[in-house]
């Protein structure tokens, strides 16, 4: 996987899409943020090029929501999950109290840094989510493609670049995932470690291909304003 050539910013619309995606993840009881949530986020936001292309191709909000429910029923996507705090409450550990004490003793930053360091260890990595932390991103390859699409056009990352990222990422099956930390995270949140991407299944359920949708986005991007 080639690296992203430079730092790139996200547009206001993309940040709104991301916030909507987080709400969709919460609604589904998911403690991760994946491509399927970002797709919903674009459609909930609605007023962006990505959403217009999706709707024009029959992928409106209701259709995608129904498609995601179907994938959950088929086990391609996980159902509602308990949070770390809820899991730990089940064995008698009050995570809120422990995390509060750690932040008080060592500081909020030290706690956050320790969490990241533990997660990124090469051997014996471990995942930890503090109560009310935002969900962890499980869409690194899609974001990396989106960043490069934006940079190639000398733009901030707009929802349409994000959509190109989701569609590009979905071309390859899950087992081709290049990031080891992402493979681990998929297991922890109950996502399958092989098979086609959820986005691919959602697109193909409408009788479309990833490539036709990508071409539609590119056409719109090249149309003079």
């Amino acid at each position: 996987m080639e690296s992203i050539p430079r730092a790139v910013y996200t547009s206001t619309a993309t940040r709104t899409v991301s916030a909507q995606a987080q709400m969709e993840a919460r609604r589904l009881g998911h403690h991760y943020l994946g491509p399927e949530h970002l797709l919903l986020g674009m459609l909930v936001h609605g007023d962006n090029l990505a959403a217009r292309v999706l709707r024009a191709n029959g992928l409106d909000l209701d259709t995608v929501r129904a498609g995601i429910d179907r994938l959950i029923a088929e086990g391609v996507l996980p159902g509602p999950q308990p949070s770390d705090a809820e899991l730990l409450a089940g064995i008698g550990v009050d995570l809120e109290a422990v995390a509060g004490r750690l932040k008080e003793t060592f500081g909020r930053d030290a706690y956050r840094q320790a969490t990241e360091r533990v997660r990124l260890r090469r051997t014996q990595p471990a995942s930890h989510r503090a109560p009310r932390d935002p969900p962890r991103l499980v869409c690194a390859r899609a974001l990396s493609i989106a960043a490069r699409e934006a940079i190639a056009r000398d733009r901030d990352v707009e929802p349409e670049h994000l959509l190109l990222g989701l569609l590009g990422d979905a071309e390859d099956p899950v087992e081709s995932e290049p990031y080891a930390s992402e493979r681990r995270e998929r297991g922890l949140v109950g996502l399958p470690d092989h098979g086609p991407h959820a986005i691919r299944l959602l697109v193909e359920a409408q009788g479309l291909t990833l490539e036709t949708l990508r071409a539609a986005v590119r056409d719109e991007l090249e149309r003079p304003a």
Binding site: Q81, L102, A114, R121
Partner: protein
Amino acid sequence: MEKTVDPEVANLAAATGSRDPEVGLRAVAALRGLLEVLEALQVDNARAQGWSWRDIAGRLGVSKQAVHQKHGPRGRPGQEG
């Protein structure tokens, strides 16, 4: 139909000390994550207060090599040493 998550479902799964491996194994992973963060914070703090790797390892009940490998400069991604 709008699919909404009943928070009671998730809470119940956790609160009953479930025999469901899906819940039980996840709880183990969550506890291990918490334990590792706690250890990282305590080891950093001990080092900052001048404790030797040998003394830290002794209190943790592990070998000096183990604790140094995990918490020393090599165990920190993005840093060389």
